[in-house]
Every structure is written in C-alpha cells, then in structure tokens.
C-alpha cells in the first residue's frame, strides 16, 4: 500500500492502463496454464476426475517408449526445422537489408509475407500435393526424364514434415533478422573496410555479432511453437512423421485422458523451453566473447 502511494502519477497512469490487458492475459493464459499444471497431477477414469496428487502421468510421459519416441522425434524435427529456417532466412534478410536498394525494401517485406496469408491448412495440404507420389515434384522430374519412378522418400515422412514446417515459418524468421540488420550502423562497416578488413572478415566481426539478437528472436519464434504443430504431421507426416502434439490431441479428444494430455503438453513445453534457454545462454556467451575481443 505504501509502495503504491510512493509511485508518481505517470507510473500510476501506466499501471492503470496496462491493468486491463494484463488481467486478460493472467485470467486467460496464466490461470489456465496453472490449471493445466494441476490437471497433470490428477487422474481421469473415463469421465470422472480423481483429484488426488500423483506423478503417474509424468512418469508415463517420460518413460513409456511411445511417448518418449514421439517427444524426442518432435524435438529433433523442431531443431532441424529451426536450423533450416533460420539458415535460409539469414541470407534472405541479408539480401533485403544490405543488397537490395532502399526503395525496394518495403516491397520485398510485403512480397515475402503475402504467401503466408494463404490459408494455413491449404498451404500444408498443397505441400502434400507438391511432394506426393503423383505430385508436382515427381511429375516434373519424371516428365523431364530425370527419374523413372516417383521418389518415395519425399512424401509421407519426416522429410516432408521438415520441408512443410520450414516453409510455414520462414517469414517469421526473416522479419526479426531483417529488422535488427536494418539497425546495424553502416559506418562501422565502412570503418572496418577502411582499416583493411576483407568483406568476409567484416561480416564475421561486425554484421554477424550485431545481427545476432535478430537470429535469437527468430530462433525462439520458430523453435518453441514448432513442437506444438499437429496439422503438418497429420497431413504430410505419414505414420512415421507423427509428433507429440498429435498424441496430446488424442489424449484430450478421443482417449478422454486429459491429465495425461496435460502432462505431455507441459513436458513438451518444458523440454523446448530448456533447449531454448541453453541456446540463449550460449549466445550470450558468444556475444560477450565478441565484445571482449
């Protein structure tokens, strides 16, 4: 109470303005997450919920081979998708920021965002059409006489999931990197050139470290949500490309085992968040060493 009185009028105005959106987020995000956590410690027998505390759901989520396979596969796919997406987005953002003429930049940003307003479901379905057995890729390669029989390794497997997910996340990776690159002070680059750095040295010593915050943002924006995708594995993954989110959906909907679903969902979230945390920490170390050098 005393603390509140000590706040100046600006602080009070800020707090009163943010209180409504914050209350909304707490009520509809933080509280439901807390309830999901509570749910994961309960058990469900068909439709009746037993609210005695138990760790059985987590034990099952982490030891049962089915769930462990799905969890590790999801983590693996998320990591590959993130590396691929950020790896492709970086040169694209670099082109947009450092190569493209200034008056074209806004157009380029617009150009790369448009495909992503094609319905999410349709885009995934169209990848199935592109990569499928009688699909666009196989059809054109066979038409050109490059292959005799359709390639079977490009559809209904983890490869197809990786391609489809990477495509889905590309603009979300390009934009944060581009925004940070735009802020890189161009006179540093000129200074490095004047002092005799080759373009590659200049890139390694100036552009890369300075654009790293964008790379981190892009990585987090892609990596964490990817583990929760269940449409892509369902449509293009085949039996072998299913991910943990498909299992979460089954537990909540068909299997009527919401507590196990909650434990799986939270386990997946904790798993990706820890990997993301390690990544952010490593990155900070890298930037510190660059700053010290």
């Amino acid at each position: 109470m005393m603390k509140r009185l000590q706040l100046d009028s600006d602080a009070r105005r800020g707090l009163s303005q943010i209180s409504l959106p914050l209350a909304f987020s707490v009520l509809l995000l933080a509280a439901p997450l807390a309830i999901l956590l509570a749910m994961s410690f309960w058990t469900q027998d068909f439709l009746t919920l037993d609210r005695t505390f138990t760790l059985a759901n987590f034990k099952e989520a982490w030891t049962s081979p089915v769930y462990r396979t799905l969890m590790l596969r999801s983590l693996k796919i998320s990591i590959i998708v993130t590396v691929l997406t950020v790896g492709l987005a970086y040169p694209a953002a670099y082109y947009m920021s450092f190569v493209a003429p200034n008056n074209r930049k806004a157009l380029l940003v617009f150009l790369i965002t448009i495909p992503f307003w094609t319905s999410y479901l349709m885009r995934i379905f169209l990848w199935k059409v592109i990569l499928g057995f009688n699909g666009v890729v196989n059809g054109s390669l066979m038409g050109l006489g490059i292959i005799d029989a359709p390639l079977d390794w490009i559809s209904y497997n983890q490869f197809a999931v990786v391609i489809t997910l990477s495509h889905a996340w590309l603009p979300f990776a390009v934009l944060p990197i581009f925004v940070v690159m735009e802020k890189v002070n161009r006179s540093y680059l000129e200074a490095a050139q004047d002092l005799g750095d080759t373009p590659f040295q200049r890139f390694l010593r100036i552009t890369l470290p300075l654009s790293m915050p964008g790379v981190v943002a892009a990585t987090l924006i892609v990596f964490i949500p990817t583990i929760g995708d269940y449409v892509t594995p369902r449509l293009v993954g085949g039996p072998d490309g299913l991910m943990i989110a498909n299992m979460i959906e089954i537990q909540f909907k068909n299997a009527n085992n919401a507590p196990l679903g909650a434990a799986l969902a939270l386990s997946a979230l904790v798993l990706v968040s820890s990997v993301a945390g390690i990544y952010v920490w490593l990155n900070r170390r890298y930037l510190q060493s660059e700053g010290a050098a």
Partner: protein, 268 residues
C-alpha cells in the same frame, strides 16, 4: 560476386515461398476432381459449388463474428498496453508486457488445451465465446507490435498542448491521439481479423457445435471429392487476405508519413 549469388538465392527463396500459393488458384480452376498434374481444362464449377454449401455459409458466418470481435477486443487491449509501455515507466513493466506478449512464442496447442481444460472443469460449454477468448490472446501481441511504432513516433508535445489547453485526458485521446494513430489502429484491426480468420489449432480445440471456416475446411480435407471446392474457397480467402493486408500496409505507411509530418511541424 557474392551479390550475384545472394540475388540468385533470393529468387529461389521467393519461388520456394510462393510454390503452394501459386498452385492454389491453378487447381481451383482445373476441371478435374483429382488434384494432380497434368491439368485437364478450365472450369468455374468449383466456385459455383461453394454457393450451394450451407454448412460453408454457416461456418463463414461464425468465422466473421469471431474474427470481428477478436480483432476489436485485441486492438483495444493492445492500445491500452502499448500506451502504457511506450509512455510511462512503472515497476514490473517488463514482466507485465512479457506476459501479454507470451502467446507469440507459445505453441498454440498449449493455449488450446489449457483453455479447453478450464472450460471442461468449469462445466462450461464450448462456444464461439471460448474461441474468441483464445483468439484475442494470440492477436493482442501482433496488434501491440503494429501499434508500438506509431506510439513511439507520436509527438508527446501535441498531447501536452491539448492538456495544457484544458482538455481532459479522455478528450485528448479522442481528439488528438486517436486521429493521429488511426491508420495503425485500422491496420491492427485488419491484422487481428486476418489472423483470427485463418487460425485453426485453437479453434479446433475450442469449437463446439459451430465450426469456424478453417475447422470446416479441415473436415472437408478428408473427402477427396470435396478438395477442388476447398481449393476454390482457399483462393477466395487468399484474395480476401491479400486485399485486407494491402489495405493495412497502405494505411501503415500513411500513418508513418502522417506522424513524420506532424513531428517535423512540431519541431518547427
């Protein structure tokens, strides 16, 4: 040399990005119920078949209600949050805005199942309201991202002048701030609308008896013979989204120009 490589890379990159989008209208006009090459002929039948689908019309209506309400609520919450964070310093600001922005990096399935759990435990029925709640959560961070830059460019002296001249804060907001940031507000409404209209994961978990458009599309994807019509529907949605986004981008630029001009005149 490296510039040329980067340019070639960029061209391939853009082709990759557009690959599915280009196929969508091609199959929507293709006179065959099988989605594969070679194409067999040109037809408008798939578009015509959409007119007869009652369920589709109902789903479109549901989606319109949800997208309109979500974008309006999200924009209002985003206005409050942005105004507070851009203009004032207060304790706990980082954590508070972090909580509000969290849905941007949270897997949608987590938001879906946590809201579903609450609805089930509270014994509520799934309805369009539960979907609206989920959509407001995920739209608000995007609306904040759009509104933030126009709040940052806003010249505070204009608001101060209005306050000094005896206007109340509410009137100042209505007569000075809001007109200046109006293009961004509309842009935020359009983005919120487009995100909600296309959102599937949360809607899938939280929809009751009234499916949204994406949930309807999902149910149709199981029937091969319905897919060409779905392609036609997807084409129409794509046109709608591109029109809305072009409008939003146009407004955003006008807003930047307008704010730029007012700040120079303010400096004079």
């Amino acid at each position: 040399m490296s510039k040329r490589i980067l340019t070639i890379f960029m061209i391939i990159f853009v082709i990759f990005l557009y690959a599915p989008t280009i196929l969508l209208p091609i199959f929507a006009f293709n006179d065959s119920s099988i989605i594969a090459f070679p194409l067999s002929g040109f037809t408008f039948d798939w578009f015509k078949s959409l007119g007869a689908a009652d369920e589709l019309r109902k789903a479109a209506g549901t989606s319109l209600i949800i997208a309109t309400s979500s974008s309006i609520i999200a924009t209002m919450l985003a206005l409050l949050a942005t105004s507070a964070t851009v203009r004032y310093k207060f304790p706990g600001k980082g954590a508070m805005i972090g909580t509000i922005m969290l849905p941007m990096v949270l897997p949608e399935i987590i938001i879906g199942v946590s809201l579903l759990t609450v609805v089930l435990l509270a014994g509520l029925k799934l309805s369009i309201y539960t979907i609206i709640m989920g959509h407001v959560l995920i739209c608000t961070p995007f609306c904040i991202a759009i509104l933030r830059s126009s709040f940052q460019q806003l010249d505070p002296s204009l608001e101060e002048a209005s306050l000094d001249l005896g206007e109340s804060r509410a009137t100042t907001f209505r007569r000075v701030t809001l007109p200046l940031i109006m293009p961004s507000v509309i842009s935020s409404l359009l983005i919120g609308f487009t995100i909600s209209l296309d959102e599937f994961v949360i809607a899938f978990f939280l929809s009751g008896t009234e499916p949204t458009l994406p949930v309807y599309i999902w149910s149709q994807l199981r029937f091969p013979q319905r897919i060409p019509s779905v392609m036609a529907l997807g084409t129409l949605l794509l046109i709608l989204s591109v029109v809305l986004l072009t409008l939003s981008e146009f407004l955003r630029r006008r807003s930047a120009r307008r704010l730029g001009q007012t700040s120079t005149s303010g400096a004079l």
